[in-house]
């Protein structure tokens, strides 16, 4: 243990925050915290998952252990494979939207949004301002609900049962907002090509403001509970260090990358929706360990509240769906009143959008990391190939690099900290 640590083997919080270790220092720290054992005759192979409660779904890791030290990990995924990409090739663009939010069912709207951004890029559809603001707001609500769920489950993995229920209680407020806005609590299918499905309902503004006024107070409370928890600190600080170069090599993105000191956020770097028009900070931490990933997500939730408030303040009037008869559905309320809208509705539902040939790739910053969508179109209403390069797929793949040389008990903390959802991983 070096001189930066106190008698308990911990870096004091204030000191850790003020310091920004260089890449070399992080590499050295990573090397020091991992045990480099040669496999001897005493290797025990155990299967962790697919039903293990800490695996957040049906992830299976086959561990080679020497005592409690992990020598090698072989991840096995695919238990939740539903062939979404194959299904996409047999559906029109509008029909794909409900498939996408079954990918990462914790943050369904982010997946809808990613697909719609890609399809709009291919079709050249401009989303009207109100549509962009509603999308931005919903995406951020999604991020909050995702991070609160993550917080509850990951802390529960470290042994705190009560905290889980507290987090779920607060997540309900966000889910209630979703229910009011989209009619569904988790799989919203709310984005449409060219905008969103519905306008904001009456009274939504008021209720949403109440929630985002209340949440930061709750977050401060969570942070107080966790930051003073000696057990959590012991299990989170200097554990599972994953440097920025490892992140790039394994395509680990999102909060894990930002906890390694890289201020990369697609909302800033490749802006989409209304993100260029709102002000927010990118949450960055520098120690690249489990504790910093927690801090990054806590900061991100606060920033999300800020973004939602700005969206509500600036919410422009006007249409929320693009008036693009060739590619997008009409506003539902007009369909039974206006003959042109009715024709458009029939046309879009029965034939689908008429899309030019070409291929696009579009990435959005989903709560778990960068979610890319590749679409190749041969013209017509159905794509020829769709690929979702979802964050959890790559995070699940990076698990061996994350945990080899660590203890089995730490694997649970590390696996929880990268936030893998198996619907997202197996597609």
């Amino acid at each position: 243990m070096s001189g930066t640590q106190d008698t308990q083997g911990l870096v004091p919080a204030a000191q850790a925050l003020s310091r920004r270790p260089s890449l070399e220092e992080l590499r050295e720290r990573k090397d020091r915290t991992r045990r480099h054992l040669e496999p001897t005759g005493d290797v025990m192979t155990i299967s962790m998952g697919p039903q293990h409660p800490s695996m957040h779904g049906v992830y299976r890791a086959v561990l080679d252990l020497d005592g409690e030290v992990i020598l090698a990990v072989r991840p096995e995924i695919g238990n939740l494979h539903r062939g979404v990409e194959k299904l996409c090739e047999h559906r029109t663009y509008h029909q794909i939207i409900p498939l996408t939010d079954r990918l990462d069912y914790i943050s369904g709207f982010a997946m809808n949004h990613g697909f719609c951004e890609a399809a709009e890029k291919l079709m050249g559809v401009e989303v009207p301002a109100r549509g962009r603001y509603i999308r931005t707001m919903t995406h951020e609500l999604c991020r909050i609900s995702n991070h609160i769920l993550w917080l509850g489950t990951s802390i529960m993995d470290l042994g705190t049962q009560t905290f889980f229920t507290i987090c779920f209680r607060d997540r309900e407020y966000v889910l209630d907002l979703f229910e009011m806005l989209t009619g569904a609590r988790m799989t919203h299918s709310f984005a449409r090509i060219g905008g969103v499905a519905k306008d904001l309902p009456d009274g939504f503004d008021h209720r949403c403001r109440k929630v985002i006024d209340f949440l930061p107070k709750r977050l401060a409370e969570y942070e107080r509970i966790i930051k003073q928890n000696r057990i959590f600190l012991k299990r989170a600080k200097n554990v599972g260090i994953f440097t920025s170069e490892d992140c790039h090599a394994w395509r680990v993105t999102g909060p894990t990358l930002r906890a390694a000191g890289i201020a990369r956020d697609l909302r800033k770097d490749e802006p989409y929706a209304a993100y260029p028009e709102v002000e927010f900070d990118v949450a960055v931490e520098y120690n690249a360990d489990v504790y910093d990933r927690f801090l990054v997500r806590m900061k991100e939730m606060r920033e999300s509240c800020k973004i939602i408030r700005q969206c509500l303040d600036k919410m422009p009037p006007g249409p929320f769906l693009a008036p693009d008869a060739a590619h997008s559905l009409p506003m539902k309320k007009n369909v039974l009143r206006d003959s042109a809208a009715m024709i458009q509705d029939f046309y879009q539902v029965f034939r689908g959008p008429q899309v030019p040939r070409g291929s696009v790739y579009r990435c959005v910053e989903a709560p778990k990391g960068e979610m890319g969508v590749y679409i190749r179109s041969e013209g017509g209403a159905k794509p020829a190939r769709v690929r979702f390069s979802t964050p959890s797929f790559y995070h699940g793949q990076a698990v061996p690099a994350l945990v080899e040389g660590e203890m089995v008990a730490d694997m649970i903390a590390i696996f929880a900290s990268v936030d893998v959802v198996l619907g997202d991983c197996d597609r």
Binding site: L122, A249, Y374, R385, S389
Partner: protein, 171 residues
């Protein structure tokens, strides 16, 4: 053709053209994305150049995927990679056409994150990545027959749906 490109992508294209000249099959530009098609023999050379050249510096592989175009009889398969540079912030798409049964060198040595992607491309399309450390089925079961993402594979399958007990201890 290159009007919609960013300046940094123009630099990338110029650099690649200077290095590989006539060996690049075709460059297309769609909605601001730059796509470069290379021969399978040049796959490794072009990609390692993309990884190491300073002006390109593609340090992250965003995704690798297989594709099937049955109407292209000579080379019905395609492998597409999306590269991203954190240094310069630009993206590039590199594709290569493949004939049935033709294999491609693995790029797991350049970007380890290609491991799962290549396994998926193999199990879904039957594209073999030579030198891949662990080319097994990833998302489907071990005894799955056929390559499900090929266009001639039916959407509603007739296989599977059984619980296997004879694989116990083997996986």
């Amino acid at each position: 053709m290159n009007e919609g490109l960013d300046t940094s992508l123009t630099v990338v294209l110029a650099k690649l053209e200077k290095r590989f000249g006539g060996r690049l099959r075709k460059q297309t530009e769609c909605c601001g994305d730059l796509t470069i098609t290379v021969e399978p023999e040049d796959w490794m050379r072009v990609l390692s150049f993309c990884r190491s050249a300073r002006e390109l510096a593609f340090d992250q592989l965003d995704c690798l995927l297989g594709d099937h175009l049955p109407e292209r009889t000579g080379a019905p398969f395609e492998v597409v990679v999306h590269l991203l540079s954190h240094t310069h912030g630009h993206r590039l798409r590199v594709t290569t056409p493949l004939a049935e049964g033709q294999d491609l060198p693995t790029i797991t040595g350049l970007w380890p994150s290609a491991g799962f992607d290549e396994r998926e491309a193999w199990e879904m399309y039957g594209i073999v990545f030579a030198g891949h450390p662990d080319l097994r089925r990833l998302l489907t079961t071990e005894d799955f027959e056929g390559f499900p993402m090929r266009k001639d594979f039916p959407l509603r399958g007739t296989v599977g749906g059984r619980i296997r007990t004879d694989l116990r201890g083997k996986i």
